[in-house]
C-alpha cells in the first residue's frame, strides 16, 4: 500500500485515491485541430523507471487532483502538490507566511 501525502488532507492510504496517469502530458488547447498533437497527448506515454510525476485524485477525501512524484521502482513518494496551478500558488503563499 502506498501512503500519499495529500496537500489538503495529510498522509492517506492510496486506496482513497484513483490514479490519473502521467502528469507531464501537455494537452493541446481545446480549439487545436492538430491531429498529431492530440494523438501524442492521448496515446503516447513514457514508461520511466525511477521518479515519475503522476496525477492522483483524492476520491474518498477532498476530491482534489494532485500531482505526486513517485519512484516507479521503489514506490518512494517525493512530493505531492495540487494539480491546479492557482491553488498550488495559494498554498505556497500561505506556507511562506
Amino acid at each position: 500500500m502506498l501512503r500519499i501525502p495529500c496537500p489538503f488532507c495529510g498522509e492517506r492510504d492510496h486506496t482513497e485515491f484513483s490514479y490519473g496517469g502521467d502528469a507531464g502530458v501537455d494537452y493541446p488547447q481545446i480549439d487545436s485541430t492538430d491531429e498529431k498533437a492530440w494523438y501524442e497527448a492521448v496515446f503516447l506515454r513514457e514508461n520511466p523507471r525511477g521518479p515519475h510525476k503522476e496525477l492522483w485524485q483524492h476520491n474518498y477525501g477532498c476530491r482534489m487532483w494532485i500531482v505526486v512524484e513517485r519512484d516507479t521502482m521503489t514506490h518512494e513518494i517525493f512530493s505531492a502538490e495540487p494539480a491546479h496551478p492557482g491553488v498550488k500558488a495559494q498554498l505556497e503563499k500561505e506556507a511562506a507566511k
Binding site: 500500500m1 502506498l2 501512503r3 492510504d13 492510496h14 484513483s18 490519473g20 502528469a23 494537452y27 493541446p28 481545446i30 480549439d31 487545436s32 485541430t33 492538430d34 491531429e35 492530440w38 494523438y39 497527448a41 492521448v42 496515446f43 496525477l55 485524485q57 476520491n59 476530491r63 482534489m64 487532483w65 521503489t74 514506490h75 518512494e76 513518494i77 495540487p82 494539480a83 491546479h84 496551478p85 492557482g86 491553488v87
Partner: protein, 997 residues
C-alpha cells in the same frame, strides 16, 4: 485415556494444576494449559502424526514452531474443518479435536505408503516430464489425475461456507517491533521510554517465548526473571501495545504492515461476538524486525523419520513444555548451540547418549559442562542413516576425515536432535526487496541493505547470544527513537556471531557407495538426489530449481530446507553459495486465512449498497428490486400472480396507454456552476450549450479524449451560471472525476465549480399520455399546459409541499417529465404523484419496462455506449457541433473510426415474429456462420406495442448494407439460429409526435 508418560516431573511454562482433554484421530489424551498440540502429543508418546505428501512416509514432530514440515494436522469438523494446521503452533484447549491427514486408514497404517516404492515416478520434474511433453499432456493428465490427486494431497478443506466472522482493523504507531525475544523486548522498551507509541507483535501465544526455553542468563539475571521484569515494565508503560498471537505476515510500501491476529482459535467456547481472526492494516513510521533465527537441519539417511527433530526444538519441549521428546537421545551438531539442547535435556532427566560434533574440537566450556553431565562427545562424527520401523530405533554414525565420511557403528536411540546451524528470519526484509547476503564465516544468510526505515535486531541480524541480542535490540530501539526526533542512549549494535568455536558448514552427509534417502524438504518429500537430478537436467537458477523440484513450495515455504537446497545446488554447479543466490520470500510469512483478508466484506457486505430515498416507498408498493451497480432499483411491480415477463409487458403497455411512474434517482446529478459554466459545458458536450436559454434542458453527449462516446444525459439551465447535469447511473462517478480533472489540470482558468448532488435530489419520471393530467393535479404552482411548458422546458415549483425542479424530457418516447425534489421529500413526491396517477389507471414501473420503452424508442443506453462506439456508429453524429471545439472532436475523425463498414446501430426483428431474441447473440451473414460474425445484439425486449420481440445491435455497414437482407441471430447456447431483419432503430412513433404532444 493415556497417561502423559513423557511429561517430565517438573518445569515448563505450563499450568499443571489444570488438565485439558483433547483428541487425535479419535483417541482422547490430556495436556495442560500452555501446551501446544505438538507438546501434548509428545507428552502422550504419540510420535507418528502425519504422512508425507508424495511417499506417505510417517511424519512426526520436527520442530517447535512455524517452520514445521512434519506435524501438519486437521482440526475441527464440518464447516470448521481446517487442514494443514501446524501442531507445533496450535495452542491446546479443552475439547480440541484433531486428525492426522494424508493417510488411509490412519497415519500409523497407511496403505498409500506403497507410493514410496514408486518413488522414481515422483522424483524431481515428474509433473513436467509426464504432462508437458509434446502432444501427450492432456491425455496423460486424464489418466493419472485421479490417482495422483487422491494419493498426493494434504488435508482437505471444508466445502461448506465459513461460519465464523472476521474483522479488518486499522492501526497506526511510531514503532512496530516484530518479535518479542530479548531483542524485541529491549527495542520496545527503549523506544517506549523515548515517548514513542510502540506495537510489539508476537506470533506465539506466549510473549517472549524464546526466553521460556532459555537457560543462559542475561547479565546477572536468570532468563525467567529478566523476562518477567521486562514484561512488567512494558505493560506498565502505557504507550506499548503488546499483541500476542499476532503474526506480522508482510511488510508493504509506505511503512504498511499486514498483521494476522488469532482471536478465538485457542478458546474452547468463544463469545459469538468476537471475530475468529483480525487482519490488521498497520501504518508505522519505523519497523524493527526482531524475528529471530530458525535452526537448520542436516540431510542424512532417513532424516525425515519420527523421532528426528531440530536440536533446539528438543530443548524447547524440555524447558518450556516439560516434555521429554525422547528417552534416549543423540544430539548431532555442527555448532555450539547443539550443546545447549544436550545439556538442558540431560538436566531434565533425558538420557543423552552422545553428542556427535562434526567439528574437530568442541568449545572448551561446553565440553567441560557436557563431561560433567556425563555426556560422551564424539568429535569429527556425523549421523549417517536412521534405522526406523515407524519411529527411529537406531542411528548409524559416521566418522569424518577431511571431507570423507566413513560409516561406523549403530547406536540405539529414540530421539536424534539435529543442529545444522541457524538462518536469520529475513523474510520480512525480503518483502521489501532487500536480498539477504551470505556470510561464509557464519555459514548463514544475513539481512541485506534496506533503503527503508526498517532495522533488524537480535538473531534476525545473525547475533546468537541472548545478551548480545538484548543489546542489539536496545541499539535498534534507540536508533528508531533518534530518527523520530527523540533523544535516546547511544548504544552500538553488536557484530553478528557470538559462538566460542566457529560453525563447520554441514549440509548433507554422504558416504561413498551408500544410497541414502536424505530429505531437504520433508513436507514436499524433496530429497538431496532430486536437487542433483535437477542440476543434471540443466537447471542452474535457484528459482527454476524451486519450481522443478517443488522445494520450498509447501506450506512452510522452505523455512528449514531452502538453505540446504541452495548449498547443494552451489556444490553441484561448483559455485559458492553467494554466487548461487537465494530465492526471494514473498508475503505471507505464514499462511493467512482468506476469511481474515476478506474481513466483513462478504455476501451483501462485499460492496456498499445504495438505496434511493424512495426505496421503502417502492417496497411498500410491491417492487421487486434489482442491483444496478451499487444501487437497488425497482425491477418490476408484479400484480398478484404476475412474473417478471407478465409484469414488465403490462407496465410497458400501460405507460403507452395511460401513465407510469418510475424512480430515476440513481441517475448521476452534477451541479455545474459559475460564470464560465456554459463555456465549460460547450467544451465537454459534442453539441452546443452556450446558447441554451434559462428554463430549458438539452440532451447532450460527451466523448472521451480519443473520440469514443463516454456518456449521455440531459443538462438543465436553471440560471445564467447554474446548470443541473444528469449522467447515466453507471457513469456518474467517472463523469464527475473527469469534469474535475479538466477543471483542475487542463482548464484551470475557467471559473466553474462542479459538485455532485446525486444524493441531494430524488427523481421521479412521469411518462404517458396522461402524464400532464397527473402532474397538473400533483404539482402546485407550475403551468403544465403545452404552451406554457414546452418539450425540453424546465420549471421550478412545489410537489406535495416540497420544492421541486421539473423538466419535460422523455426516455420512453411518450409525453413525459422528470421531477426532482430534495431527497428527504422523495416519498412525499411519490405519494402526491401516485395519488393523482392511480385513479387514472396509472401504474408504477421498474427498470425492465424502462428498458423495454427505450428499446422501442431506439434510445441508446449502457449496452450501446460500451466504450467502443463512436457518434457515427450510433447515428448521433449530426448532434456534433461544427461551430465550436469539444473534447474528442479531433481524434473521433481518425480514419479507422470513419469507415463505412464499422458496426453501426440498427434495429433487429425476428422474421418469424414468434421467435424471441437474446442480448449477446452474434449477427452473421447467412452464408458465413462461423467466426465472430458481422455484428452483435446489445439490447432486446418483447414489445407489447408491436406484439413481438425487437432488439438493438451493431452490425457491419449498418442498415444501409443490410436493408432487404436476412441476417442470422446466432445464439448456439440458448436458442440456436434465428433469421432476423435489420431495420431502423425507431420502432414506434418515429416522428416523435407523442412526446411533443
Amino acid at each position: 485415556m493415556s497417561r502423559q508418560i513423557n511429561r517430565l516431573g517438573q518445569g515448563g511454562a505450563i499450568d499443571r494444576s489444570r488438565t485439558l482433554s483433547f483428541s487425535f484421530d479419535g483417541a482422547r489424551y490430556e495436556g495442560h494449559p500452555g501446551d501446544t498440540l505438538a507438546s501434548a502429543l509428545l507428552a502422550n508418546d504419540v510420535r507418528i502424526v502425519g504422512r508425507s505428501f508424495k511417499y506417505h512416509r510417517p511424519r512426526g514432530v520436527m520442530s517447535a514452531g512455524v517452520e514445521e514440515g512434519g506435524a501438519l494436522i486437521t482440526t475441527g469438523s464440518g464447516a470448521r474443518r481446517t487442514p494443514n494446521v501446524r501442531a507445533t503452533t496450535l495452542e491446546l484447549f479443552d475439547g480440541l479435536d484433531t486428525y492426522g491427514q494424508n493417510a488411509w486408514p490412519s497415519v500409523r497404517f497407511d496403505l498409500n505408503a506403497l507410493n514410496g516404492l514408486l518413488a522414481r515416478f515422483f522424483s524431481a520434474g515428474f509433473y513436467y516430464k509426464t504432462f508437458m511433453g509434446p502432444g501427450r499432456g492432456t491425455w496423460a493428465w486424464m489418466q493419472y489425475e485421479k490417482i495422483i490427486r487422491r494419493a498426493a494431497g494434504m488435508g482437505e478443506a471444508s466445502r461448506e461456507p465459513d461460519p465464523d466472522s472476521y474483522e479488518i482493523a486499522h492501526a497506526h504507531c511510531d514503532v512496530l517491533v516484530v518479535g518479542s525475544g530479548p531483542a524485541g523486548l529491549e527495542a520496545a522498551r527503549v523506544a517506549a521510554e523515548a515517548g514513542l507509541h510502540v506495537i510489539l507483535a508476537e506470533q506465539d501465544f506466549a510473549v517472549a517465548p524464546s526466553l521460556l526455553s532459555e537457560t543462559e542468563g542475561i547479565g546477572d539475571e536468570a532468563p525467567a526473571d529478566w523476562r518477567a521484569a521486562r514484561l512488567k515494565a512494558l505493560q506498565a508503560a502505557g504507550n506499548v501495545q503488546i499483541m500476542p498471537r499476532t503474526t506480522v505476515f508482510g511488510l508493504y510500501d509506505g511503512g504498511v504492515a499486514g498483521l494476522a491476529e488469532r482471536v478465538t482459535d485457542h478458546l474452547a467456547d468463544p463469545s459469538p461476538h468476537l471475530p475468529r481472526e483480525r487482519f490488521w492494516i498497520l501504518r508505522t513510521r519505523r519497523t524493527i524486525v526482531a524475528t529471530g533465527a530458525l535452526e537448520r537441519s542436516v540431510a542424512f539417511g532417513n532424516n525425515d523419520r519420527p523421532g528426528i527433530m531440530l536440536a533446539n526444538a528438543a530443548r524447547i519441549y524440555a524447558n518450556r513444555f516439560g516434555v521429554a521428546a525422547g528417552r534416549r537421545a543423540i544430539v548431532a551438531t555442527n555448532n555450539d548451540s547443539g550443546y545447549h539442547s544436550a545439556l538442558d535435556m540431560a538436566a531434565a532427566g533425558v538420557d543423552v547418549a552422545r553428542i556427535l560434533d562434526v567439528r574437530e574440537r568442541a568449545s572448551d566450556d561446553f565440553a567441560a559442562r557436557a563431561r560433567a553431565a556425563g555426556i560422551e562427545i564424539m568429535t569429527n562424527c556425523v549421523p549417517v542413516e536412521a534405522a526406523a520401523r515407524g519411529t527411529i530405533g537406531k542411528l548409524q554414525i559416521g566418522r569424518r576425515s577431511g571431507a570423507t565420511i566413513r560409516a561406523d557403528e549403530w547406536l540405539d536411540c529414540d530421539l536424534v536432535a539435529v543442529s545444522g546451524g541457524w538462518t536469520p528470519v529475513v523474510n520480512l526484509l525480503s518483502h521489501r526487496g532487500a536480498r539477504p547476503v551470505y556470510d561464509e564465516s557464519l555459514a548463514t544468510f544475513l539481512p541485506g541493505e534496506c533503503a527503508e526505515p526498517i532495522r533488524v535486531a537480535g538473531s534476525a541480524a545473525g547475533v546468537w547470544r541472548s545478551e548480545d541480542c538484548a543489546q542489539s535490540g536496545r541499539a535498534a530501539g534507540a536508533a528508531a527513537a533518534r530518527d523520530l526526533g527523540k533523544s535516546a542512549l547511544d548504544e552500538q549494535a553488536p557484530a553478528p556471531g557470538g559462538w566460542d568455536r566457529p560453525i563447520h558448514p554441514l549440509w548433507e552427509v554422504r558416504v561413498k557407495g551408500r544410497k541414502l534417502r536424505s530429505f531437504v524438504d520433508p513436507q514436499h518429500d524433496v530429497k538431496t538426489d532430486d536437487i542433483r537430478l535437477a542440476h543434471q537436467e540443466g537447471y542452474v537458477s535457484v528459482e527454476h530449481l524451486k519450481r522443478y523440484t517443488t522445494l520450498g513450495m509447501a506450506s512452510d515455504q522452505g523455512k528449514v530446507g531452502n538453505v540446504i537446497g541452495l548449498a547443494l545446488m552451489a556444490k553441484a554447479t561448483g559455485k559458492t553459495i553467494a554466487e548461487t543466490g537465494t530465492t526471494m520470500f514473498r508475503p505471507p510469512y505464514t499462511p493467512v486465512s482468506l476469511g481474515a483478508l476478506a474481513g466483513r466484506g462478504c455476501d451483501e457486505h462485499f460492496r456498499a449498497t445504495r438505496y434511493t430515498p424512495m426505496h421503502d416507498w417502492n417496497m411498500e408498493h410491491g417492487a421487486v428490486m434489482i442491483d444496478a451497480g451499487l444501487w437497488k432499483r425497482p425491477w418490476y411491480f408484479p400484480a398478484p400472480g404476475e412474473d417478471l415477463t407478465a409484469a414488465y409487458e403490462r407496465e410497458t403497455a400501460k405507460v403507452r396507454e395511460t401513465v407510469g411512474l418510475c424512480d430515476v434517482t440513481s441517475l448521476g446529478k452534477i451541479a455545474v456552476q459559475g460564470p464560465d459554466a456554459a463555456e465549460f459545458l460547450n467544451r465537454v458536450y459534442v453539441n452546443g450549450f452556450g446558447k441554451l436559454p434559462v428554463g430549458r434542458a438539452r440532451y447532450g453527449i460527451m466523448l472521451r479524449d480519443d473520440g469514443i462516446v463516454m456518456d449521455d444525459g440531459t443538462t438543465w439551465r436553471l440560471s445564467d451560471s447554474d446548470f443541473f447535469m444528469t449522467t447515466t447511473t453507471a457513469n456518474a462517478a467517472k463523469v464527475m472525476g473527469f469534469l474535475e480533472e479538466l477543471l483542475e489540470t487542463r482548464w484551470p482558468d475557467l471559473r466553474v465549480r462542479v459538485t455532485t448532488v446525486s444524493e441531494q435530489w430524488a427523481g421521479l419520471a412521469v411518462a404517458g399520455p396522461k402524464a400532464r393530467q397527473v402532474l397538473e393535479a400533483a404539482v402546485e404552482d407550475i403551468d403544465m399546459s403545452s404552451e406554457a411548458f414546452p418539450f425540453m422546458g424546465v420549471r421550478e415549483g412545489h410537489i406535495g409541499g416540497a420544492p421541486c425542479r421539473v423538466a419535460r424530457i422523455s426516455f420512453s418516447g411518450e409525453m413525459a417529465w422528470e421531477a426532482y425534489v430534495p431527497s428527504d421529500y422523495g416519498a412525499a413526491m411519490c405519494d402526491a404523484v401516485w395519488q393523482a396517477a392511480e385513479p387514472l389507471g396509472g401504474i408504477l414501473y421498474g427498470t425492465e419496462a424502462l428498458g423495454a420503452l427505450r428499446i422501442e424508442k431506439g434510445h441508446v443506453a449502457g449496452p450501446e455506449l460500451d466504450g467502443r462506439t463512436t457518434l457515427e456508429d450510433l447515428h448521433l453524429d449530426r448532434m456534433a457541433s461544427t461551430k465550436k471545439p469539444f473534447i474528442g472532436n479531433v481524434l473521433r475523425k481518425r480514419p479507422g473510426l470513419m469507415t463505412d463498414d464499422r458496426p453501426q446501430l440498427v434495429g433487429i426483428v425476428p422474421k418469424d415474429r414468434t421467435r424471441r431474441l437474446y442480448a449477446g447473440a452474434l449477427l452473421h451473414a447467412p452464408d458465413r456462420l462461423s467466426g465472430h460474425g458481422e455484428g452483435w445484439v446489445t439490447s432486446v425486449t418483447y414489445s407489447p406495442e408491436l406484439g413481438h420481440w425487437i432488439g438493438l445491435g451493431l452490425i457491419r455497414g449498418g442498415v444501409e448494407a443490410w436493408s432487404g437482407k436476412t441476417a442470422i441471430h446466432a445464439d448456439p447456447v440458448r436458442s440456436g439460429n434465428t433469421e432476423v431483419e435489420i431495420t431502423a432503430t425507431h420502432f414506434i412513433d418515429p416522428d416523435g409526435s407523442r412526446m411533443h404532444a
